[in-house]
């Protein structure tokens, strides 16, 4: 196999099987959700997000990306839950008609911790996993080559369609498309952008279909892959362990075992 197809992962964490990393991220998010509270998710973030991220050498990027992505949600959450929390008794601040309550702040912080867990776990996943490798691994495990194709193609189509869209938006803006301004104008401005992108892509569907069929795409059954990510018995065991952590956490939460966590 040609040298340039060999993958050389930059760290031990990167080298883990994609499915392992996927399950790890999902379980972290779900357990963070189940535990609730403030301290629980934060501990989880430290152990399951920050630690692996530093092993993988992506901690800096993770912090930047995760913060950036969760910023709009965080701001919205803070504003809404601090000021509009019904039934809040202890008033902390009064800004005209809106009131900040301690209960509101408490709730907002909890939600924030939860968002941090989810965002961090998922960011860690996609920073350390190439989409094509995940899809290859799934295909090796029995997912149909057609589903694998759809997944791969979707990831590649997003930047391609984006280029087309940005060209169109630039052209439209030169002709006066409004992205600011009144609500009605904004809504009206959607169609001239959507239409060319959508129609242009759909027109291509026919040709792409013919080309794919000419490349033997219709043959049913599996394919012999050139390469796929490695796996190990240890990782298999770890995956089962991780998956079982979810019901375990749910039971623990239901029986109040975690009530000591603020």
């Amino acid at each position: 196999m040609p040298a340039f197809l060999e993958r050389s992962p930059p760290s031990r964490w990167h080298a883990l099987n994609p499915l392992t990393k996927l399950i790890f991220a999902t379980v972290t998010a779900m357990v963070g959700l189940i535990i609730g509270g403030l301290v629980g998710p934060l501990i989880l973030v430290a152990v399951a997000v920050v630690l692996p991220a530093s092993v993988a050498g992506v901690l800096g990027r993770l912090v930047r990306t995760s913060v950036l992505v969760s910023l709009p949600i965080a701001i919205s959450t803070l504003l809404i839950n601090v000021f509009f929390f019904p039934g809040g008794q202890e008033v902390l601040l009064r800004l005209g008609p809106v009131v900040a309550t301690r209960e509101g702040v408490g709730f907002a912080l909890e939600i924030l911790a939860r968002i941090l867990t989810i965002s961090g776990a998922i960011t860690l996943f996609y920073l350390t996993t190439r989409p094509s490798e995940l899809v290859l691994d799934l295909e090796r495990r029995g997912v149909s080559p057609r589903v694998a194709f759809v997944a791969n193609a979707s990831v590649q189509t997003v930047p391609a369609m984006l280029e087309r869209a940005s060209n169109i938006v630039a052209a439209q803006r030169a002709r006066g498309l409004d992205t600011e301004g009144s609500l009605v104008r904004r809504i009206r401005g959607l169609l001239p952008v959507v239409a060319p992108v959508v129609l242009g892509s759909i027109v291509e569907v026919e040709e792409r279909t013919l080309a794919l069929e000419a490349r033997g795409f219709t043959r049913p059954g599996r394919r012999a892959l050139l390469w796929f990510p490695g796996d190990s018995a240890g990782q298999r065991a770890a995956r089962w362990l991780l998956v079982s952590a979810v019901p375990a956490a749910a039971l623990a939460a239901a029986y109040g075992l975690l009530a000591w966590l603020p």
């Binding site: 709009p72 965080a74 919205s76 019904p86 965002s119 149909s144 193609a153 609500l183 892509s201 569907v205």
Partner: protein, 358 residues
């Protein structure tokens, strides 16, 4: 018993078991609202339970098939090449438009289902559902910033339900153009469409009032609420005007069908997504819809009710708009392009103009 019967049976059993478990442990403590007689939080949870049960049933079916035949042939064979080629384009559309609307255009609709509904209409319910599911999962787990979204993965079930419904409506022929109809038919259609929208507005109003104290007497903290009310009203009115234009200018009866389909899909989507939004994200998703949630909270609603109220306003309007856009796209596609898709023949006019000879 044949392998297929075994699979189907196990899938159905899993569905029923999950539903039962959900009903037992679900949030059904809220009582029926005395005014409207509807137990909204209950119906809400139940819709989510049904959706999850459907997914579980499907997963069990697929799992059993894999155990039997080491492949998923009965599912993947439903998809022909053309559908497979369309799906990534549809998924990319969902992600790009949805992200653009959420991040750049601060309007309280999502527009992240255009691709899902398009695939549903052209290829069928299962491809539509799969498109929605994959789109949301990829959006969260795989697509990097700036097109990444942390929250979409949790709503994958909602997207799947939307795709399923779109496929069903497509199969029923609701998205077929019906131009040049008689005034009587158009009037009936217009009546139904406008009536539906007004019923919807009334339900939203009920949602407002059932969960809080809404007094029209302006006191300080009601101002925001009033503004939002007018905003929602403006959106509703705008949609009505656009659809009436389609009805009477082009004399196309399908405008009514589009409205009904959009409203129905929107209500289902709101029902399934509200519990997810409330329980996972506290009702706040960082999109333009958040100020609606804020308004409901301001009026005294708890998280669940606020999320549901916001959903009932945003989702139907979003889905009506999306179905509309998809309808326009389908019209623009032309006979040949549509006819080759699995459900294409349901999307062309019936009668001499639409006959697709093989």
């Amino acid at each position: 018993m044949s392998q297929r019967s075994v699979r189907l049976l196990l899938g159905v059993v899993a569905f029923l078991v999950t539903t039962g478990v959900g009903v037992l442990f679900g949030r059904f403590d809220a009582a029926a609202d005395p005014e409207s007689g509807i137990n909204l939080p209950g119906a809400d949870s139940f819709a989510l339970i049904l959706a999850i049960a459907a997914v579980v049933g499907f997963v069990v079916y697929a799992g059993v098939e894999y155990a039997q035949t080491r492949s998923f042939a009965s599912i993947s064979s439903q998809f022909d090449t053309r559908t497979i080629v369309l799906m990534p384009i549809a998924i990319a559309l969902n992600i790009i438009l949805g992200q653009a609307v959420a991040a750049a255009l601060r309007i309280p609709i999502y527009l992240d289902s255009i691709g899902t509904i398009l695939v549903g209409a052209l290829a069928g319910p299962i491809p539509g559902a799969l498109t929605g599911l994959l789109a949301n999962l990829l959006w969260t787990y795989v697509v990097p910033p700036p097109f990444h979204s942390d929250i979409s993965g949790a709503f994958a079930i909602v997207a799947a339900a939307i795709g399923l419904l779109a496929g069903i409506f497509g199969r029923l022929g609701w998205l077929r153009p019906r131009p040049g109809r008689s005034t009587g038919q158009l009037a009936a259609g217009g009546f139904i469409a406008v009536g539906l929208i007004l019923v919807l507005a009334y339900l939203a109003y009920l949602g407002y009032t059932a969960f809080g104290e809404f007094e029209l007497a302006p006191s300080g903290d009601e101002g925001l609420f009033l503004v939002l009310g007018y905003l929602a009203l403006a959106l509703v009115v705008g949609t009505i005007i656009g659809l009436l234009a389609l009805l009477f200018v082009r004399r196309d009866l399908s405008a009514a069908y589009v409205v009904v389909a959009g409203v129905a899909t929107g209500i289902v989507a709101a029902l399934i997504s509200a519990p997810i939004s409330a329980n996972v994200f506290g009702g706040v998703t960082g999109a333009g819809t958040d100020f609606l949630v804020a308004a409901f909270r301001q009026a005294g609603a708890d998280v669940q009710a606020a999320a549901l109220g916001q959903g009932f306003i945003s989702d139907p309007i979003d889905k009506v708009t999306t179905f509309f856009v998809v309808y326009l796209v389908l019209n623009a596609m032309g006979l040949r392009a549509k006819a080759r898709f699995p459900q294409g023949d349901r999307l062309v006019e019936s009668g001499p103009r639409g006959r697709v000879a093989s």
